[in-house]
């Protein structure tokens, strides 16, 4: 019995020891398993978690690297796959954005620039670095930024705005016309996050449109001139017959009334004088019609200038100063017509100084492939509102003017493939500039 008691006690003791041993073992095993779990699962999970945070923050630079094979590794691989695909997607959208030739920028709700495409950089002169985070209106300073900003309104009500014509400022404060379209940027839930604007430099189109308009106006003017020319020619010729008849009648009466009725003779004289001035008007009109054709021959322009000066009788309070460049290359010109041009310009200059007198300066010079003539006066000048109409037929400010002088001049100048321009300051004077192309055989050696 006692033995059995001892046995029982021993047995308990030994079983207790076992339990301790097992417990220790279990603990060790547990620890080992825990460590190994921590190494093989928790650490990679932590890495994954870090990586996910980085991706969320927009960083796609780092890929995950997990040595051991297993479930986690395959998860990490999927993760890497995702990073690569994200990288690819982002690269693709960026490439597309940057490949778009028209400038694009985006802003957040506070109008701070968030993206500024290379085309935007190129057009504006700013670098992306300089402007990101700044207010778009402080950068572009367009004429409608304050009142009706396209991006702002698109960002506000979510509807796109198309083709708004705006003037924007480049970095060097040059104003350029642009055509802009704007739209809002929304997140997945449809909340508006900001706006995006695409625009295009339309300077070239504007210039072309302007030129087209000018050409059209020019065409209309030359058509008008041609029609006017035909009409003028017709009317002038038809008027010559009745004028000739009136002249004959006046002549007859003058010779018939031999008694010395002074008044009667005075009136017959008036009729004759008025016939003479009517004829002058007709001559001028016909001169205007005849300018459609020019017979060009190489000539020394200085000689034509001298000839015109010699033929004009100026009022005593007007002087002429010549500054003629010696040995100018010959210019193809119609001598009579260019003479007419000088007469027109010189008599206009004289008229402008009629009250106070003054100097008409006539200058000739060579400039590249052209011979330039400048006729300047110190007269009343031309108000800028008149400058546009100056060369229009029948534009005149003179009581007895017809307003054909400059129209004829322009028409002749055009026939010579030449140019005429004017510079005038009211109260100081006016200068007309004519530039004629040099004769071909000379222009080669000259220019």
């Amino acid at each position: 019995m006692k033995k059995s008691h001892i046995d029982a006690k021993d047995a308990w003791h030994s079983s207790h020891l076992w339990m301790v041993a097992i417990f220790i073992m279990a603990t060790i095993l547990g620890l080992t398993i825990a460590t190994s779990i921590s190494i093989s699962i928790l650490r990679p999970l932590k890495l994954l978690d870090d990586s996910a945070k980085l991706i969320a923050g927009g960083n796609l630079k780092e890929l995950l690297y997990i040595q051991k094979k297993g479930e986690i590794t395959s998860l990490a691989n999927s993760f890497n796959q995702m990073i690569l695909s994200l990288r690819h997607q982002i690269r693709t959208s960026k490439t597309i954005l940057e490949a778009i030739a028209d400038p694009i920028f985006t802003v957040d709700m506070a109008m701070n620039l968030t993206y500024f495409s290379p085309a935007c950089e190129k057009l504006s002169g700013y670098t992306s670095k300089e402007v990101i985070g700044k207010k778009c209106y402080e950068i572009f300073k367009s004429d409608i930024c304050e009142k009706q900003c396209a991006v702002k309104s698109s960002a506000k009500n979510g509807t796109p705005t198309y083709n708004v014509e705006v003037q924007m400022k480049t970095k060097d404060q040059k104003s350029i016309p642009i055509m802009a379209s704007a739209s809002s940027i929304k997140d997945e839930q449809g909340n508006i996050m900001g706006g995006c604007e695409v625009f295009r430099n339309i300077s070239e189109q504007k210039r072309m449109l302007r030129e087209l308009k000018e050409a059209e106006e020019q065409l209309i003017i030359s058509e008008k001139m041609a029609a006017l020319g035909r009409l003028a020619s017709c009317v002038s010729h038809e008027l010559r017959n009745p004028l000739a008849i009136i002249q004959n009648s006046a002549y007859y009466l003058k010779h018939k009334f031999t008694d010395q009725d002074a008044k009667l003779h005075k009136h017959l004289g008036i009729i004759e004088n008025e016939i003479i001035s009517s004829n002058k008007i007709i001559d001028e009109l016909l001169g205007f019609c005849r300018t459609t054709k020019s017979e060009l021959a190489s000539n020394d322009i200085n000689k034509v200038i001298e000839l015109s000066i010699s033929r004009i009788q100026l009022k005593p309070n007007i002087t002429i100063e010549k500054n003629l460049a010696p040995e100018l290359p010959p210019v193809p010109l119609d001598k009579e017509q260019i003479h007419q041009v000088f007469v027109n310009l010189i008599s206009n200059a004289e008229y402008s100084m009629l009250n106070n007198g003054g100097k008409i300066s006539i200058t000739s010079r060579q400039n590249k492939g052209m011979v330039e003539i400048e006729i300047g006066d110190q007269g009343c000048g031309i108000p800028s509102s008149d400058l546009k109409k100056l060369f229009d037929p029948f534009f005149t400010t003179k009581i007895k003017g017809i307003g054909l002088g400059l129209a004829i001049t322009k028409s002749i100048i055009q026939n010579h493939h030449a140019n005429i321009s004017v510079n005038s300051v009211v109260g100081e004077g006016t200068s007309f500039f004519i530039s004629l192309p040099i004769a071909k055989e000379y222009s080669k050696t000259v220019s």
Binding site: R240, N241, P242, A244, Q247, N248, S249, Y252, H255, K256
Partner: protein, 143 residues
């Protein structure tokens, strides 16, 4: 004496010579009327025609020393009329009057042989002096 007769005769011829016969051809009545009156007053014998056909007809019936011819007229133009009249009589002198710049026609007429051309409107003195010149030359040649 015979002398008296001769004198009278030569007097008659001089008288006849001085009174040159002129035909005014113009479609405008005002021109015909005024020129006729002026030239008659200046001592010429003047007839008028309204167009080229009428002028040819008249020139066929009688001799005119001078024909004042307008260029542009309805029907045939002045130059065509001159051509026809020249066929009838080579002695007639032509003065062409024109209000238009009808250069080709004028050139043609100059080639045909005309005495002069003048642009309308012209001072009547100009026509008178041209006629006087013709008259002088004619008197000289006849003597």
């Amino acid at each position: 004496m015979m002398n008296g007769k001769t004198i009278k005769k030569s007097g008659e011829t001089i008288e006849k010579r001085e009174k040159l016969k002129i035909l005014v051809v113009d479609d405008q009545s005002g021109m015909r009327e005024t020129l006729s009156d002026i030239l008659q007053d200046a001592g010429y014998v003047v007839e008028a025609a309204v167009d080229g056909y009428c002028a040819i007809k008249k020139a066929g019936k009688q001799f005119f020393d001078i024909i004042l011819m307008d260029v542009i007229m309805p029907g045939i133009n002045g130059v065509e009329a001159i051509k026809e009249i020249k066929k009838l009589n080579s002695q007639t002198k032509f003065i062409l009057m024109t209000a238009y710049s009808a250069e080709t026609l004028i050139n043609e007429a100059v080639k045909l042989g005309i005495y002069q051309y003048i642009n309308k409107p012209f001072p009547p003195e100009q026509i008178i002096s041209i006629l006087e010149n013709i008259n002088k030359n004619k008197t000289k040649n006849d003597e």
